[in-house]
Symmetry: C2
Subunit: 229 residues, 2 copies
Amino acid sequence: MRRAGTVTGAVPRPGLRERKKQRTRDALVRAALELFATRGYEGTTVDDIAAAADVSQRTFFRYFASKEEVTFFVPRLAESHVVEAVRGRPPGEAPLETLRRAVLDSWDDIHATIEQLVPLDLHLRVYRVIESTPALLAAHLRRATELEEELARIIAEREGLDLDADPRPRVLVAAFGGVIRVTERLWSAGDDISVAAMHDLMAAYLDRLGPALAENWRTDRAPDRRTET
Amino acid sequence: MRRAGTVTGAVPRPGLRERKKQRTRDALVRAALELFATRGYEGTTVDDIAAAADVSQRTFFRYFASKEEVTFFVPRLAESHVVEAVRGRPPGEAPLETLRRAVLDSWDDIHATIEQLVPLDLHLRVYRVIESTPALLAAHLRRATELEEELARIIAEREGLDLDADPRPRVLVAAFGGVIRVTERLWSAGDDISVAAMHDLMAAYLDRLGPALAENWRTDRAPDRRTET
DNA sequence: TGTCAAGTGTCAGCGGCTGTCACTAGCCTC
DNA sequence: GAGGCTAGTGACAGCCGCTGACACTTGACA
């Protein structure tokens, strides 16, 4: 129990001001997500959100640059777990395996992070709103490619490669990201919203990545060499 | 059921009304793209575009649902060529090869389609604006995933598969799409904006798709079996 | 306790976008 | 070729996301 203005400690308890700010931000996030989930994104005005959080519209825009930004506050927190997980993988591991394990192993942490702010159920409902609202889906995809760029940098560094000279990091991450997005969409559209379901779906789809590139699907074997020019 | 003035041909010449409409739309597209390329997207108001095309703002919105839509008028035309090319590939071809050849072979048609409306140079400048404007980049990515969904449907149909039962069509297209996007970005950022340069870049990156998923990059061989769970 | 600045509310305004309504001008019929 | 129909348009009013300016309140700290 530290007092405001404390000097000691690695993570000193923030002052009243800081705590109040955090409470306001959380209130705005929760109010926004709740409204989005019930009335939809376009059916919710910023004034509505501000009113629900009991602040002025101007204050909303001091916390979030846009209505869009508040929507992705929780996902942004979740993403950082994946980035950290990739960074924490043992060196020498095959790149695709690094990404695969990082994502699959992060799910518990991500789950905990989400629940700290909003119920998982609300998160899912908002995710469905994102998928079905063109403006939000677009923003979601843009954020995803930014994350991919960061992951490509990390992979390139791990492998000691120049990102602009060797295509493989970006190519790998692009393919990987594509599969992740497909599974996210299927998961959110499905019935089983458990973390385990998401985990299994991703694992299954990632395992199909190799075979899907294979020469001929009908043989149902994966004959290795793909399009040799 | 021929209209006045039309006598022959499977594609009757449209009436004055229709031609006037097309002229107005083309004028709006050209005015918009020219302004975007010079002043930037956000630096251009819809009033500016309407004024440049000599119509009212209200009329602009009768032709395009949004400022964003006019930006993607040309790309949308180009995309249809790719879809047609995929449809036209010989049956029995390996799916990845189908996509690869369809995209690579479409470039001349795409080039012609673009030039019919605006100079290729202007198109490229607008593309750079798209890449560097968050709102437009987001819209671009959303449109790309919609296209991917359509391609996945076509691939599944070619292979006689149920899109929702077999992950491979979506997985393949997602991986493929990711690589295409990476190459587009590199091309637009580079110096050589020729069609040939784009073609070669895509071919090279697509050929790296297999190796990038391979076990270990350092051996520089592609040992086939990837992440077996 | 007084000073300072962070945080906030209020107000005014711009730009994207929409609904409405009256008017003009191609098109079609007689 | 005159007149009616309606697609296309301009003018206007208004909503909503977002921003700048300014004054007021309140936590932080000497």
